[in-house]
Symmetry: C2
Subunit: 234 residues, 2 copies
């Protein structure tokens, strides 16, 4: 009846899935806002629903863009990557009711390739990516039947923390930790009623965390109000 617990798998019912999306997305956005206030962090969230064909972003387009910038500025060499197939656990999670729609499947597969490509050519400049995307979008078609979601394969990629000046022998340990984390997360995190489960899942100590080393320190105008009175008013 009330206070229902639902399985962690694709919600078949169309309307309830939609409403769940809205609710939880709002919930996440709220939590994001809270976190940013509580801990003074910059946080950006991007939700793209293929179902509804809409893109939601928090907290704003401009802010997000800035985060992109920072994100991309991270030297690739400073990051080690480990890929793992997420799919096995996904399918397991998505149990039976696998509504397979060939069209969707095809679409998904294509996206998968795209993703893989992106990871392989990680060094690509974003401009190239943009270019590619633009080209793709030109002769883009949209499968209008939103019938099935098709448990499409995904992957998880764990970025590991590397300090250029940090001893490299920590690497092995880090990797193990990630392994551990990954397994635990995938296993417990889902539905298996682990007592209290992983407590810090999704964020293993220093892993999946890339440290930045440079921050800027240039000079700036005294009074921002003079420049942007209507926007900035301390």
């Amino acid at each position: 009846m009330t206070g229902n617990k639902i399985k962690l798998e694709w919600i078949v019912n169309d309307s309830s899935r939609k409403s769940t999306l809205k609710r939880r997305r709002a919930g996440i956005f709220k939590k994001a806002g809270d976190l940013s206030t509580l801990c003074d962090v910059e946080i950006g969230v991007l939700v793209y629903s293929q179902d509804e064909d809409d893109l939601a972003v928090w907290p704003s387009y401009g802010h997000m863009k800035q985060m992109f910038e920072r994100f991309l500025s991270i030297p690739i060499v400073e990051r080690s990557e480990k890929m793992t197939t997420y799919e096995g656990l996904l399918t397991q999670r998505v149990t039976q009711e696998t509504h397979k729609n060939n069209m969707e499947k095809k679409n998904n597969d294509k996206k998968e390739i795209q993703e893989i490509m992106n990871q392989i050519f990680e060094g690509d400049k974003l401009m190239q990516l943009e270019e590619r995307e633009r080209a793709r979008r030109q002769h883009a078609l949209r499968s209008t039947d939103t019938l099935a979601p098709a448990p499409r394969p995904r992957m998880i990629e764990v970025d590991e923390a590397f300090q250029a000046h940090t001893s490299t022998e920590a690497t092995c340990i880090e990797q193990l930790m990630n392994d551990n984390w990954f397994i635990e997360t995938m296993a417990l995190n889902q539905d298996m009623p682990g007592p209290s489960g992983v407590s810090d899942m999704g964020m293993p100590s220093g892993s999946v965390v890339d440290r930045m080393n440079g921050d800027n320190e240039e000079d700036l105008p005294e009074d921002l109000n003079a420049f942007f009175p209507h926007i900035y008013s301390p």
Copy 2:
């Protein structure tokens, strides 16, 4: 004692802030994962803590990058933007204990400018942004004292949903809704114990939501395993 409620403001205590960051970040990541499973959506989360100087991303670098790409591919003209100063409410929220550190302040102000600039020159190609960032990072200095966070001014910018083919008279209404949403969110969302408060806050019906129109539909290899056996295994 236990089950404590905390005020929605910057956590002064260093260690508890740190632990809260970890906990809540993990929580958000988990929720993100759940949402993506439940509703088959792509979701990316980026958390940059200036405090700890680390960047966390979900679900992966590559995935995030792909989302960036999609995000940037949204034609600017299809989006209307409304800016509002977030600061008044922020300061109100961050009440007294305003640990003002000049160094930090300066730093923050600079970032603010940067942000504003980004929004103003929203049309900029990301490459330019990257270029700028790289240049900035070159003679970048890092203020080592992580002493104070300084409730830095922020802004919120509400992107509104616009379909090129959608009637434009909806605009006014949309804006009003956003206004309403913004006010409600800022007011109730915080600490005022509104009974149940805004239920869909953080995600006003069609606002803060940009719709995409194109999706790709090219041909692709039959068996992805043949190409990426170790990564992709359906």
